[in-house]
Amino acid sequence: MTDTTQSASSSEALLIVLRHPPHGSSWLREGIDVALVAAAFGREVELLFQGDGVFALLEGQAAGALDQKGTHPQLKMLEMYDIERLWVSQRDLDRRGLTVDDLMLPVTTLDPDGVAALHAARPLSLIF
């Protein structure tokens, strides 16, 4: 599964790492904002969901709770921005009792070695 991270064509892609859940802070929203702007500027953008960031993809999220807009409407716009490579840490899904079937978008899972390989293959990355 890690060989997909090695493709030379993506070495200039901007990797945005999302490590925070949808609610409770603005980290996720402000991270996704950077991804969308970079894509709008014509950069190839990939997202890696790590740690509690995997909750961002959970299907069935509601807006309105906590007087926050939520971030799932932003994630539904990813395809429109041609952001289609979504990486997810399998270990972090496992630790939270989740599977890819619980997620709202198609993703590629990575084991810990795969996450490390992805980081090594993407010199341009921003971590949120």
Partner: protein, 131 residues
């Protein structure tokens, strides 16, 4: 010699991140490197507040950033979207949003996230300073 961009997420005084970013910038410049861009995002936008007034026996982060901007020609860029939400606005934005006050003055400059993407691409290194 390298050209650096810094991405500051840390609010001033709340955590060490903002002061670490400033100290890194000063040290890098002292060693002959260039720190061409500092981008303030997330709670880091508060570093740009001209209204901060720390006790006199403490580091004045706002003044130190300003000095960096003036002496090293470092661009001090503040995300406008993150800033507006947090009350970090310059005169132009204050007028546009019908606000009675503003909190950002040169050399700090409100700008868009596109400038952060540019910074990633145009410097040898970008270093993030989280809270």
């Amino acid at each position: 010699m390298l050209s650096y961009a810094l991405l500051v997420h840390a609010a001033p005084y709340s955590t060490q991140g903002a002061l670490s970013a400033l100290r890194f910038a000063e040290a890098a410049i002292a060693r002959g490197h260039r720190v061409e861009t500092v981008f303030f995002y997330h709670d880091g936008v508060h570093n740009a507040s001209t209204l901060m007034a720390p006790p006199q026996d403490e580091v004045h982060l706002g003044e130190r950033w300003k000095r960096l901007g003036e002496t090293a020609q470092t661009a001090l860029l503040v995300c406008v979207a993150a800033g507006l939400r947090r009350g970090i606005v310059d005169g132009t934005e204050a007028t546009r949003h019908d606000l009675a006050q503003y909190s950002v003055e040169p050399p700090f400059e409100l700008t868009g996230i596109g400038q952060l993407v540019d910074a990633v691409l145009t410097h040898d290194r970008l270093i993030t300073f989280p809270p």
